[in-house]
């Protein structure tokens, strides 16, 4: 089981700041997310694993900290 932290506008979409998924890889996680929240296809976001942005598929361990991040808007 993987915990996914949710930020920004996506907290309104997913209605939570953290959800639990069964995926063991980033690609599987993306597919599982879209299955659960098809509306996400309309939004832009990227993923971080242990505070580093990740673009390619990666195996996920239960102790990894995974987050889904909409485009940043600080400043």
């Amino acid at each position: 089981m993987i915990k996914l932290k949710v930020f920004g506008q996506l907290t309104d979409i997913i209605e939570s700041e953290e959800i639990v998924l069964e995926s063991s890889s980033l690609d599987d996680l993306k597919k599982e997310l879209i299955r659960s929240y098809p509306i996400l296809e309309k939004y832009s976001y990227q993923f971080s694993v242990n505070h580093e942005i990740v673009f390619e598929n990666k195996h996920l361990n239960p102790e990894d900290e995974i987050a889904i991040l909409p485009p940043f808007a600080g400043g």
Partner: protein
């Protein structure tokens, strides 16, 4: 928290930095940026405040990276960055960048690049809060 500040950045923090940063006279240039929340209007709604949220641990790391990068590559004497999280009302300050350099050359350009780096690289998000209780997430790309 090192760089994230709960609520608006107060004038007392800026005054303290003024006292600290001017103690030494080896640097001749101080370039400062303050980001203030604007009382924007969106579809007849006035922005009362902005609620900033952040991926705190990652945001602190990314701001550290920005500071280290610019201090090393641009030989800056010092670089201080504070960004608000939580609610900041229209008129209050949510971002402070203070750059110390030996000379003014490069100070203005670097200040601009640093502010842009904060906007582009730090996981912080903002939603405008309106008087009727509604809100709107800001997408900086639009």
């Amino acid at each position: 928290m090192k760089h994230l500040h709960q609520g608006p950045i107060p004038s007392s923090l800026i005054a303290n930095l003024y006292e600290e940063n001017l103690k030494s006279s080896t640097n001749g240039a101080h370039a400062i940026f303050l980001g203030q929340v604007r009382a924007d209007k969106f579809s007849d709604h006035n922005v009362e405040a902005i609620d900033y949220s952040a991926y705190n641990e990652m945001a602190e790391k990314e701001i550290d990276k920005i500071i280290n990068y610019f201090k090393e590559t641009e030989s800056l004497a010092e670089l201080i960055i504070y960004h608000s999280i939580g609610i900041v009302k229209a008129g209050e300050v949510s971002l402070l960048v203070w750059l110390k350099n030996k000379h003014r050359k490069g100070s203005f350009d670097n200040l601009k690049k640093i502010v842009e780096s904060v906007k582009f690289n730090v996981p912080i998000w903002k939603k405008e809060l309106f008087k009727d209780g509604s809100h709107r997430w800001i997408d900086e790309r639009k």
